[in-house]
Amino acid sequence: MSIERTVENVYLRQDAVTLTRRHFWPLVGLTILFNLVVNIATQALTSLCDDVMYTEIQALTQAMNYYQNSKILTSYEPVTAAAKNLLTSPKFLLCNLLYIVVTGLLYAGLTLGHCRERLDAVRGSVVRPKGVFSLMRYAFKGWRLYLLSLLKVALWALPGLIVIFIAGVSLSAAFSASGMALLWLGLGLIFALTIPAGLRYSLAAYVLCDEPDGGVIASLRLSKSLMKGRIWQRFKLVLPFELKVVGMILLISALFELTITALGLTYNNTVSNIETILLNAGIIYFTLQGQMTKAAFYEKVRWPNPEDKPAKPVSYWLQDHSTPALPEESPADSPEDTVPENTEEKEKTNEEPVC
């Protein structure tokens, strides 16, 4: 990687730290709101699914209690029967499907909103915590983007998985040396292939939140073209923040252990909660810096010359520009692909959000 890219990384990180400090509390509010909504939704879904499958869960719990109390070998059969009954029940499959779809959609929609607010911060606008809901109507598109990029990365993991499978076969046939060598090779292949693949599509979410009317596949394609020759730069970009998170976790854990031992305290719930709060605060602080760095990186890579950047992202499709346009998908694909009546501009000036 050339020195210029390294220097660019240094400036991007410094700018991101400045931006994070400037918009710190709104970004924290944004993150808390994001996590709160996701947690409430997952808790609600879990409770709903528990209520729906109450009978099967009760049967399994009773069978397990009976087995633990009696400890007779034959009494394990009711446990397996109850577990089989639960796992093969249509309610279980339906509940899991509902859980995956609802949390996936929610997560995708909120992530797009989060990305949009971060880009606004990079572009000098105000960050609004409620902006996390601004792109909820594109949740399905965001979810499709996430699944498609996950599939692409998973395909890159295949060679490594095949080698690990062969390693497993070697190990089971008592070829321990070759098995272990193949296992390391497989793991190495997985890391070596999936990390660049993941980084290649890392800008797709930003492309989509910047131009939500564009297509999913086109977003992935644009991300791939923008990341060409910049994968290693992107990998090194947030490494310092990740190392700081690891260092901070080790330091706080060590300090807590030291304090507990010095004061003769016991590791109870209160101490554990305080430690968790401190750790989360530190993780949030460095994670925000990392996220802002990625947003600044996208802005730098997408618009290397600030003069080329269109004034209004919504009107991007109407302007003459050198960057390849994202072709729109066919209108029949999904309801949210139709151009909404309320544009992003109207949303920003409205007192109340559209979502």
Binding site: A177, S178, A181, W184, L258
Partner: protein
């Protein structure tokens, strides 16, 4: 305001370029330094072991340590001087340049001892905490209202740990503060020991954190490379080392590759610090000229 992180990026890139260009020469110099010191140690120890007299052996070991310190300081100063010439002028240096500062070995030894003493004084508070904690623990064990076994164990763990942390927290900035004194003496041998330390303190003001961050990426890369080499060669050894001879050969290959990687990155780190020193000198010189200018006429 100058961007110190960007300066570090350029310093590391330049050090990488110079390492590639002068690697074998610098490796030869380091081999001479380590080789001579090792030979003196081995030879001296063997000689002293041959003497039957304990008193002579003790005096002999003290003399041997003093000789080793003198020789190592002189040779180390020569190595640093060679690195300074490489980084400053890019001039062709010979491997024999490592002996160029042997005439100042006494001064170099004095500098090492003075810097060592100053650093040790910064570590004193930490040492005092460790000693006090030991006294408190031993004392509490002997008094009638002595602490329980758990409390004693806790104190024995925590207080020395606090002392050690204090030692590191105070000693590391001190180490960086006096870091450039060796480079100043190697560059200008006419400078005195105290003057070198004073100049180093002035040069490092506001740059200690920068110096700390300068070699962090190189150290990280070094550890990752060594880990990868160990895993890869270990896997190969597992596959191919069917006989004792093959295992020995592969072990030797592993050790050689690891040392080569370590030396490569060590040379890069030394060159980074040399370039860092030259940058500080460059910064200081315009400042000094600005001060002297009104008095020039």
């Amino acid at each position: 305001m100058k961007n110190l992180s960007v300066e570090n990026v350029y310093t590391r890139a330049k050090a990488k370029e110079l390492t590639k260009k002068y690697f074998w020469k610098l490796l030869g110099m380091m081999a001479i330094v380590f080789g001579i010191v090792y030979a003196i140690t081995l030879g001296g120890t063997a000689l002293l072991a041959a003497t039957g007299n304990e008193t002579i052996a003790v005096i002999g070991y003290l003399v041997l340590m003093a000789v080793m310190l003198l020789v190592a300081s002189g040779l180390g100063m020569g190595l640093i001087a060679a690195m300074i010439y490489i980084c400053r002028d890019g001039e062709q240096v010979k491997v024999s340049q490592v002996f160029s500062r042997m005439g100042q070995c006494l001064k170099a030894c004095g500098l090492s001892l003075w810097v060592g003493l100053k650093t040790f004084l910064w570590m004193l508070p930490g040492y005092l905490v460790v000693i006090v904690s030991a006294i408190v623990v031993v004392g509490s064990a002997y008094t009638t209202n002595g602490a329980t076994a758990e409390e004693t164990a806790a104190l024995m763990t925590v207080l020395p740990l606090i002392g050690m942390i204090l030692m590191f927290v105070l000693a590391i900035p001190a180490v960086y503060r006096y870091m450039l004194s060796t480079y100043i003496l190697a560059d200008k041998p006419e400078t005195g020991v105290f003057e070198s330390v004073r100049q180093s303190k002035a040069m490092m003001k506001g740059h200690k954190w920068q110096a700390f961050k300068l070699i962090l990426p190189i150290m990280l890369i070094m550890y990752v490379v060594m880990l990868v080499v160990m895993v890869a060669l270990g896997a190969v050894m597992g596959l191919l080392a069917n006989t004792a001879a093959a295992a020995t050969i592969l072990s030797i290959v592993l050790v050689v590759v690891l040392y080569a990687a370590m030396l490569y990155y060590m040379i890069r780190m030394y060159l980074c610090y040399t370039l860092f020193y030259l940058k500080r000198v460059e910064e200081q010189n315009p400042a000094q000229e600005a001060v002297e200018a009104p008095y020039a006429e």
